[in-house]
């Protein structure tokens, strides 16, 4: 039992590598914030653009959504990281991770926002237009406020799942929690940094999982 404690909860090892792990914690938070912002805003923008029903544009949006809903996040990330330099573009690993995860989240967010927009009854549109609002005004001040409320419970689980994907960025050496924990583990030949890293992830994501459970209960959605 003493051996287990020393392997997984070794105080000296943890004390030594805690600063690096906390640095990783900050990178994970920054990465997660950037991914959620890019993903949700781009998804919302695409859904709004789709509401104008311009044929070629809609076709492009649907193609974008299908591609990024279908490809695994890690495949997108690795493709961007190792592929872009061949196209003459070199961007930082952090930006690649934001872009990779953000585009995947945007695809799911567009689907959710679009499903929400189409779930708003026609009468709402017609009533708004008949009071003299333009199409854009009706969309912005009548349809979207209701649609966003419908979309939130559809989006929470997916947003959490994709944000957890920030751990994938360790594969392209972004110095986030898992990356720091893995190098600390190989330097110290001890598993404690990984256990602490796991706890840091729980500290970030457990509150969101509990929040999504509460939302689901409140809105009665299962997705």
């Amino acid at each position: 039992m003493r051996g287990l404690g020393e392997t997984f909860f070794n105080g000296a090892v943890i004390a030594k590598y805690l600063p690096a792990l906390l640095g990783g914690f900050r990178v994970t938070l920054a990465l997660a914030a950037a991914v959620v912002t890019l993903g949700l805003l781009l998804g919302l923008a695409l859904a709004i653009a789709r509401a104008f029903r311009i044929r070629t544009l809609n076709w492009l949006i649907v193609a974008f959504v299908d591609v990024f809903r279908t490809l695994p996040q890690l495949v997108v990330m690795i493709f961007l990281y190792f592929g872009l330099p061949y196209a003459g573009l070199t961007i930082s690993a952090f930006l690649v991770a934001v872009l990779g995860l953000g585009l995947v989240l945007a695809a799911f967010a567009e689907e959710a926002f679009w499903a929400a927009i189409t779930s708003i009854p026609r009468g709402q549109w017609e009533a708004a237009r008949s009071t003299g609002l333009s199409f854009a005004q009706a969309l912005a001040s009548v349809v979207m406020p209701q649609a966003i409320r419908v979309a939130i419970p559809l989006l929470t689980n997916r947003t959490i799942a994709i944000t957890k994907g920030t751990a994938l960025a360790s594969v392209i050496s972004v110095p986030e929690i898992l990356d720091q924990a893995q190098s600390a583990m190989s330097l110290s030949a001890n598993a404690s940094p990984l256990v602490v890293g796991g706890m840091l992830y729980l500290a970030i994501f457990a509150p969101f999982v509990a929040f999504s459970r509460w939302l689901e209960r409140r809105f009665g959605w299962i997705i």
Partner: protein
Amino acid sequence: MQEFIANFANLESLARIYPLLLQGAQVTLLLSLVTIPLAVLGGLFLAVLYSFHLRLLNPVLIVCVDALRAFPVLVLLVLIFYGLPFVGISLPAFPAAVLAIALNNSGYYGEIFRAGIETVPRGQREAARSTGLSAWQTAFAVVLPQAVRNVLAPLAGNTLELIKTTSIATAVALPELLRSARVAQESTYNPTPLTAAAVMYFVLLWPLTRVVARLERKMIAGH
């Protein structure tokens, strides 16, 4: 443009690495086929236990499911593959990946089945029990068949996500599709294998994406 095609869609290197990618796709398929049933069974077990409403057990189950859902699957995989050897348990890459992905997805499937079971009216359970069926018989013969029908969309969606998740086995050097593409890319010095792998993932998974999208739309319309 010419250069772009020579880099990203180079037929010569495609012909050379094609067998490697096919082998990778086979490993991806095998990993999915082994993991899906295990994760579904794990989830069913958790959800059926929950449906018995045992006062002391249910809070424990909720904590387990939420911890599994809050923990990034790649961190779990790294913990199993690189952490367990410290206590003398060394799993090869394939079983380690199966274990990590199945555990993680048991949480997701468990939550989906639990939500589905809650949509079945209490009277169904009471009627079944009063005809003399045991609690487990009631769960499997009466409640679950109805519950599954109500959560078909999230079940299909999660299965798609599970298959996509198998790409994380790259991180423990399992030669699945993504890993094979990386190996091929490093030996050909051009990103064509990555393009080919992305196309293969898309071709394999896109039909499932369409099915999931249709099921989700039906569910939202039904609300």
